[in-house]
């Protein structure tokens, strides 16, 4: 087996045992990136010299008999929404082209302290807004299973780089499905832990009450290994949970017998691709055959997940992205600097009802803001900022934002009630397998619906894991999702791992051809 095809668990053990150097391990993945990323476009930045220097330093310490961290020599790719002090952090936006953060994100610092080797930054939908990775300002990512198809998003580069063996592990973030959906479409394992389980410090904020960092890897066992390093309390993130981190890898071996698995009949309704439905039903049968019991449960408000999410996430985004003002960092358009846009399209806006602003451009400062943001942001980011600003504006706040927060509670209560009778809820991760690049770009609303099975997890703040459970006749991976209550990480990782002991879908490799 080629080095780049070995699991993270295996690579870490080999480095620890002295059978493999960190340098050889890192070189294998860097060479793989150089060989295939021209076709996939999963990486926005790779610093070969820095990665090899880091690996060499680890090898020196091992040779000298000095202690090394639990992930010593493990190459890790990081979604370009997480800050890295030694690599650009762009969020795949022109707004942040060339931006160098002053510090590492908490997760990146933890990885480095564990002696993992950061090999590069992965492509994403701009500011993590999208479900296909087609909103990147730096080019589409191509799905390794069919290069004419989307890898999903927003962590599309992280999913594609693991699928194509360019990294054994990648870090993603999930606001409405951005880890689980691309993992499903690329045939890998993606884990979205409970909200607050991993510090968000240094993750560029999209929707702060929904954003969650998590690992993406070939297997649940590899996700568990990385979780032990990146999970935990951070005083620098007031929303990170001060709860001890269990030994996730130690819990993997418990069998499935007795596990109560919930099946939501509505998840198999209209809109679900028949091949995906068949693959998911087959996986449910495998859980049952292994001793789990299947129970029908109802999530009565699940159908309201998408409209709820597409109010709350844009509202939070419009507030979070106000920081891109052309003054502190990012794109700055100077007055008269060749920017064509006009405020409000040249229409003089009438403002009142508590909205203390005047237009167009009541000062050179406001003009600079408006033009800088027009230059820096792409169409989907602008759309979401506009939607959020509208839903939060005077006269609409109660009808839209406050209404969505109330429905959010109903959605959370549905999950709490369901978890009184089942341990996990199982179903599809996306309604279809990977779709063609360009297929949905003309219709924002159609793109939003790809998140229909994943947004509930984020709205409720619970955990979810997705992994492959089969392939379509056309050779595309089919994703399976398990959702579990808050802090059920050991259970979710173990259930996915046990399924992966019975099946080999997660070990299949794409041919990297159209």
């Amino acid at each position: 087996m080629h080095l780049s095809e070995r699991s993270a668990t295996d690579l870490v053990a080999a480095v620890r045992a002295g059978e493999l150097t960190a340098t050889a391990c890192t070189t294998a993945f860097l060479d793989r990136i150089a060989a295939v990323d021209g076709r996939v476009n999963a990486f926005l930045a790779v610093d070969r010299d820095a990665a090899l220097a880091q690996a060499a330093a680890i090898d020196e310490r091992i040779a000298a008999g000095r202690p090394v961290g639990p992930l010593a020599g493990l190459p890790v790719a990081v979604k370009d929404a997480l800050c890295t002090a030694d690599l650009p952090t762009t969020c795949a936006s022109r707004m942040l082209a060339g931006y160098r953060p002053p510090t590492d994100a908490f997760v990146v610092a933890r990885l480095r302290a564990a002696d993992a080797v950061i090999v590069g930054k992965t492509n994403i939908d701009e500011f993590a807004m999208g479900g296909s990775n087609e909103n990147s300002a730096f080019g589409d990512v191509h799905n390794p299973w069919d290069l004419t198809r989307a890898p999903g998003g927003s962590s599309g580069g992280s999913a594609a780089c693991v699928a194509a063996d360019m990294a054994p592990v990648a870090i993603g973030s999930d606001t409405g499905g951005s880890i689980r959906q691309p993992a499903g479409l690329c045939g890998i394992t993606g884990f979205k832990p409970t909200y607050g389980r991993i510090s968000r410090r240094g993750l560029v904020a999209f929707a702060s009450s929904l954003d969650q960092i998590g690992p993406m890897a070939r297997s649940a066992a590899d996700c568990a290994l990385v979780m032990e390093t990146i999970a935990g309390h951070d005083p620098g993130d007031a929303t990170s949970l001060a709860v001890p981190v269990p030994a996730y890898t130690a819990a993997l071996d418990q069998p499935l017998a007795g596990l109560r698995v919930g099946r939501v009949p509505a998840h198999f309704g209209p809109g679900l691709d028949p091949e995906v439905a068949a693959g998911v039903e087959q996986a449910l049968a495998a859980f049952e055959a292994a001793g789990a019991t299947i129970h029908e449960v109802d999530l009565p408000h699940a159908a309201y997940g998408i409209p709820t999410y597409y109010l709350i996430a844009p509202c939070e985004a419009s507030s979070n992205l106000a920081r891109y003002d052309g003054a502190h960092y990012g794109v700055r358009a100077e007055p008269g600097g060749g920017v064509r846009a006009e405020p409000g399209g040249g229409v003089r806006a009438e403002l009142g009802g508590g909205n203390a602003a005047l237009g167009p451009f009541d000062s050179p400062l406001v003009e600079m803001y408006c033009r800088s943001r027009a230059e820096g942001f792409g169409p989907e980011v602008k759309r979401r900022i506009m939607l959020g600003t509208y839903a939060l504006s005077a006269g609409y706040y109660d009808a839209f934002y406050a209404k969505a927060l109330r429905v959010r509670r109903l959605i959370q209560q549905d999950f709490l009630r369901a978890f009184e009778t089942v341990d996990v809820i199982a179903g599809p991760v996306s309604p279809t397998p990977a779709f063609k690049l360009g297929e949905k770009t003309g219709d924002p609303l159609a793109m939003y619906l790809v998140d229909m099975y994943t947004v509930g997890t984020n709205l409720a703040g619970i955990g979810g894991i997705s992994f492959p459970c089969g392939f379509t006749a056309g050779g595309l991976p089919i994703g399976f999702q398990l959702q579990g209550p808050a802090l059920s990480e050991p259970l979710l990782l173990r259930a996915a791992h046990q399924y992966q002991q019975l099946t080999d879908w997660h070990l299949r490799r794409p041919a990297l051809v159209p």
């Binding site: 160098r100 002053p102 607050g196 009450s209 929303t239 949970l241 408000h301 309201y304 409209p307 709820t308 597409y310 109010l311 419009s318 106000a322 003002d325 052309g326 003054a327 502190h328 960092y329 990012g330 794109v331 700055r332 007055p335 064509r340 846009a341 006009e342 405020p343 409000g344 399209g345 806006a349 009438e350 602003a357 167009p360 000062s363 050179p364 003009e367 600079m368 408006c370 027009a374 942001f377 602008k382 759309r383 900022i385 506009m386 939607l387 600003t389 509208y390 839903a391 504006s393 969505a404 927060l405 109330r406 429905v407 509670r409 109903l410 959370q412 924002p444 703040g461 619970i462 808050a486």
Partner: protein, 100 residues
């Protein structure tokens, strides 16, 4: 159309986004469609439901009031489009459009 061009123009200014004529046109149609779609939440009676702004029940998380290391001025200014070594530079807050 649940939103007019005028509505979208106003929101563009509130959001500090300069929109071109073409963007304004396209955005009016797209936002109307999305707003119509999310308006289905109106079907639900939520009069007895408390809003849920955040999934965690934590509130008022305090730390010890002790000075912590923070960014130096040079670090804070390192990515600034314009600065003078100690401050961020911006166009005039008051004054005529384009007079900066």
């Amino acid at each position: 159309m649940s939103l007019t061009r005028q509505d979208v123009a106003k929101v563009g200014l509130l959001a500090r986004l300069a929109l071109t004529e073409a963007e304004l046109e396209r955005m009016t149609g797209e936002l109307s469609k999305i707003v119509d779609f999310v308006s289905q939440l109106g079907e639900l009676d939520t009069s007895a439901v408390e809003p849920l702004a955040h999934p965690l029940d934590t509130r008022n998380v305090f730390r010890e009031d002790e000075p912590q290391p923070s960014l130096s001025t040079a670090q804070a200014l390192a990515n600034a489009p314009r600065h003078d070594g100690s401050c961020f530079l911006v166009p005039a807050v008051l004054g005529e459009t384009g007079a900066a």
